[in-house]
Point group: C2
Chain length 185, copies 2
Amino acid sequence: MVSQEEKRVSSRSIFHGHIMDVEVADVRLPNGQMTTREIVRHAPAVAILAIDDHQQMLLMRQWRAAVDQATLEIPAGKVDQRDGDARDAAIRELNEETRLVADRLTKVSSFYSSVGFSDEYMTLYLARGLTAVAKQLPQDVDENLELVKVTLEQALELIKSGQICDAKTIMAIYYWQTLSLRGDK
Amino acid sequence: MVSQEEKRVSSRSIFHGHIMDVEVADVRLPNGQMTTREIVRHAPAVAILAIDDHQQMLLMRQWRAAVDQATLEIPAGKVDQRDGDARDAAIRELNEETRLVADRLTKVSSFYSSVGFSDEYMTLYLARGLTAVAKQLPQDVDENLELVKVTLEQALELIKSGQICDAKTIMAIYYWQTLSLRGDK
């Protein structure tokens, strides 16, 4: 295999924001030519496919400024200073967004959400055995969330109709479908 | 359902790049409070789950500056001026990256890749009945791509080991697994 590595020659910071930093890097390609790469730096994140005992998944309806519309998404959020690791973040987000705690929380997969321009790294968890939390954690002041529950069949219809249009949520639904088809309730 | 809409009061452009624009918007929340939203504007994109007659999927190994490593991803790219629509872009990218044309090209789903901070909207296609193209389109000068073929079982192992760590690719593999479990070859 020929090396594909791009050597970073220099980079400059364009923007330092609350949820992202933006930089432009000058890189040398394997053929010696120079080009630039625009990169969004973002905190790692978690998302949770939470399935209750009635075989319904938990979705959050929330406004997303980037697309100027309300979306339906699985519970998710950034890993932050309060969290020891991604798993802690998943437990905290599930509490904050759904007021539930999972008896069984297992990692599904980890991935870069938009590897062409961002380093956001997300871990998807499967949460089952859901019960009400003993202690509700405070919610983010600028988040307005509405809980929606759907079956697998409804979720697949919502993808088809375009009402579910969030990548991590669609990934989670396809994964859930593989579990269902394998008879793993 | 209570309105969750955030009213955009003003916004300013932070960066105008080759593949993205960055803006910061001031928005009014439903409770009247003001907050800011940081948004990455990105062209729409396509990705292709291409499965050959040996039941192997086509992956591209390429360097990704944002994560400073080589990744394994399904063929993908931006919808650009040459394309009439997303379907045209999928046909073009499949030609450029794999030198193949699909006898059957069907839409799987459309989604925002990172709806928390970006408007990148991607459409995933399923391509089957693959044969060599009659006319090879020119490739991007700063792309170095290596074609890799894997079975479904290998793809699932590569997710587990972390060697496949791209969201759209993992989504496509879970979707492929649903087809396989349903006996749809």
